[in-house]
């Protein structure tokens, strides 16, 4: 009586209240201290979704948060996993999405369409969850609220694309889009208030 393959059903938090609380704390710390790496574990989503992005989804995504999935995640086990465990509407238009999951390139291709919130409700924007392989290689320098002086974050070969994802935020503030970056079990965030430059 199920429309799902086995891999879509496994991999949720074993102890949801405790693990979701920890993942929420990780997301909060990542957003309030841009550039720091936080551990977000407990989820075992199907590839190519990094475990940290899975934990974030289990914690923040539900039936009331429309999700936009990049083409590389659609119609596969990732979509089925998110549908079963988060119960989320997954075919949202970019403009209507509360969260968008995808590679830096896929998110960049649709960037202009993701919501930036309204002047009255700047929070009604799309939070981008950027899926990376690792936090390694070429770095960006970060300044802004939550950062004492400057911070550095290794973005590797995706650096130019991530800089481009965050670039419009400066002119849009207080509207704009917040970014989570996820690689394996680790999470970083670039809220709309953070400024980035290559180093």
């Amino acid at each position: 009586m199920t429309a799902f393959a086995a891999e879509a059903l496994d991999g949720a938090f074993a102890d949801a209240p405790a693990e979701a609380s920890r993942a929420f704390r990780a997301a909060l710390d990542a957003m309030s201290r841009p550039g720091t790496l936080q551990h977000a574990g407990g989820a075992r989503p199907p590839a190519p979704l990094p475990p940290a992005a899975g934990a974030l989804a289990l914690t923040l995504v539900d039936a009331e948060t429309p999700v936009w999935l990049a083409p590389e995640l659609r119609a596969g086990p990732v979509e089925a996993w998110l549908r079963f465990h988060c119960n989320a509407p997954l075919n949202a238009a970019p403009e209507a999405a509360a969260f968008a999951f995808g590679s830096p390139a896929s998110l960049l291709a649709e960037l202009d369409r993701f919501a930036i919130g309204t002047p009255e409700y700047p929070d009604r924007s799309t939070t981008l969850v950027v899926l990376l392989d690792a936090f390694e290689g070429a770095e960006a320098e970060l300044t802004g609220p939550g950062i004492r002086g400057t911070a550095r974050l290794a973005l590797g070969s995706s650096r130019a694309e991530i800089l481009a994802l965050a670039a419009p935020n400066r002119a849009l503030f207080p509207q704009g889009r917040d970014l989570f970056l996820a690689a394996e079990g680790r999470l970083a965030a670039l809220p709309r208030s953070t400024r980035l430059r290559e180093v």
Binding site: T2, A3, F4, D62, A63, E64, F84, N87
Partner: protein, 371 residues
Amino acid sequence: MYVAVKGGERAIDNAHAWLAEARRGDVSVPELSLAQIREQMTLAVNRVMAEGSLHDPDLAALAIKQARGDLIEAIFLVRAYRTTLPRFGHSVPLETSEMAVSRRVSATFKDAPGGQVLGPTFDYTHRLIDFALAAEGEAPEAPTAPPLAERTPHIAEFLDAEGLLQSEPEGGETPSDLTRQPLAFPADRALRLQALARADEGFTLSLAYSTQRGYGRNHPFVGELRVGMVAVEAEIPELGFAVEIGEVELTECETVNQFAGSRTEPPQFTRGYGLTLGHCERKAISMALVDRAMRWKELGEDDVGAPAQDEEFVLSHCDNIQATGFLEHIKLPHYVDFQAELELIRQLRREAEAAQAQARAEAQAAKEAAQ
């Protein structure tokens, strides 16, 4: 100057302890069980569910017990509880035309298909206190008759078929939800109906009554009032199709309102609509009247300035939890605010007295100068 003070912790703890004792009452009297409240105070339970905006009879019964029978307090408890529940999704729109009716009356058509089914109603009781109920005893079993096989169609369907009833615009999109987004004006009908469905029964009744007395009169007939069980279906994402996840009792009222036509609409009957969780017929009828009154704009009627026509007035004041929260907070300490007011009044008084004294002195001086 702002002086923060704290204190009263022991007094509050003791007040809570006494509240618990007072709630229990005389311990020589047996304690109420939740099942007793649920089964024998059913209409109170229904009101708490409707205005608490959460269908769960056991929870409503517990809230009533905890609130010592203060229904607004019980509604407050249910509202607070529901905010802690994750929202799994929404139902498919409830099919009230498929309702298993326990009561169904029409004030407009005597011979409506499905008939006039009175159900367990107070309508024809004499409103004389029944002292027999003071003594314990089993109620006699109600008579039965072979169940009616036929479906009970909505009365409105008949007028609709003749084209004499204003048709309801369909809307496929997701209705706005005031529990998720702050109320903004102008509010569409979906928002107005949601607000009214959880609105205070007394407030809604009074507003509905005001329209009957001439403040935005809209000539309602109760086309139909029905109470009964309706199956709840919801789309289950893991299954990919809709299944029944329960059943709820609902009260539905459709009014048919006289309408002479307007600048935009031909002469026809118009509708008001009331729907509540549980058996709450006074509320459902009131809701239908107030719904109709607020539709003046879309029907091209004049705004006669009646309170029931003013959606901002109605929707901003119909919620008893909002209202009681703001009202009751004024009995909590406002020492600092009041101190400032007191200082202000004293100062104004000093200034006024000084001004009076000066005026007297000037008048005296002028008089002396004239002499």
